[in-house]
Symmetry: C2
Subunit: 252 residues, 2 copies
């Protein structure tokens, strides 16, 4: 695992997408078991029975779509590797970025209630997803068992995350929003075992701005400003956080 990261970062200078193993050994490992799903989700509850189910993985190249708005619900996905962007298109045809899912996040939970996915999810980097098909999720023999319970739990977590990231955009000054965004990204990378102080943003300034409800120029200016204050170092999409404390103080 660490080897992979190092290998990736060695080539990261001119290849900003992270960890994209075009490895052939993966060809044989296209399935994940229940325990890997639990581990990815950071499920902390009790599992009562041994569940021998295997879940097929799905590979995506950067730019490919994981789910499309309107597509019929086929199941949930757990992100195993990579970074994605979830967006909604409103009635006026304007796109709005609502999340940046990464490892351990759940995709497609908005599709349950109407049998159709209601958001668009595209891969920002090469991705590896684990598919939890709806027939497994809703089949009578599985109902009430661990899988269903875990899905419940994960969906509830989704709601909480939606709400908390919503609070991100609730601050008058755009610079504060960007600072908080970086803090959240840092924490999420840390939760994945990556460095919280140095990471590569998988999304464009435009995406960040759309997400934070500011223009891309404002995002750029905010990053430059934070850089001038010596709080971070920015070089295109590579972010170094020089002082977590200063970043934290900034966003309060």
């Amino acid at each position: 695992m660490m080897m992979n990261v190092q290998t990736a970062s060695a080539s990261a200078r001119w290849h900003p997408s992270f960890g994209q193993p075009a490895l052939k050994l993966e060809r044989d490992e296209r399935w994940s078991d229940f325990s890997e799903v639990l581990s990815l989700l950071n499920f902390d509850g009790q599992v009562q029975e041994v569940n021998a189910s295997l879940f097929r993985r799905r590979r995506l190249k950067a730019g490919q779509s994981a789910l499309s708005m309107g597509q019929s619900f086929q199941g949930l996905y757990v992100v195993r590797l990579g970074a994605l962007k979830t967006s909604l298109t409103d009635v006026d045809g304007v796109e709005h970025v609502v999340a940046f899912p990464m490892k351990g996040d759940l995709l497609g939970s908005d599709g349950i209630c109407r049998g159709r996915y209601l958001s668009e999810v595209v891969a920002l980097t090469d991705c590896d997803l684990i598919r939890i098909p709806s027939e497994t999720l809703f089949s009578p023999e599985h109902s009430g068992l661990d899988l269903e319970r875990v899905a419940y739990w994960a969906i509830s977590r989704e709601i909480f995350q939606e709400q908390t990231v919503g609070t991100l955009t609730y601050s008058p000054k755009s610079e504060v929003r960007v600072a908080r965004f970086l803090r959240v990204q840092s924490e999420r990378f840390a939760a994945q075992g990556c460095s919280p102080n140095q990471f590569i943003l998988p999304m464009t300034r435009r995406d960040i701005g759309n997400y934070l409800n500011v223009t891309l120029e404002t995002v750029s200016r905010a990053l430059s400003s934070l850089s001038r204050h010596g709080i971070i170092a920015v070089e295109r999409r590579e972010i170094k956080i020089l002082s977590q404390a200063a970043l934290r103080d900034f966003g309060s």
Copy 2:
């Protein structure tokens, strides 16, 4: 509907689920049945079995708290009557309004994943809630049955709603946000059988501003501006929409 209420109250006396001693409170106790829950939620799926469960109602006066942040998860609530406000308090102690639940909405779904409610829900008007206790929701004999499936569905709908209202706050101009907010409120009132063209906002300008991420003065100015344009009429919290078309055009 009256019949249902009476039937429910009558059957509450002998319903075996709750071994409560007969109290004088009993005449005040109100119960709702499964079909009323489905109807409130606008559940459009199939119900396989007859579910005779009864759910206790809970009355709230304006200002009272329905759920508190940190309180241990005790179940979900479906709003039967009234208007509420859902808010999160971030690490800095700043409150952020994330939703204005009303009739048919689900409360408490963010509490499943950690066993604690993660948001604060207070009643803006007198309210009537239907409690779906966690023991019923998660009991082995209920698992996999309709109640669990409906809960799934409702939670998924919550996620979608969270996301779509997120797009509300995404528009550069505050006047457009306020106009869209009014449109959404109008649609929600209409979905409840109330007039879409005349209604009373249950929340303060401050709450609206917090929700839309603008100051209360800006909300007030936006309403005045829409009023000057002849699109709406405002008198304190009473809103009359004079031209739905103009309001719609405004927010695009």
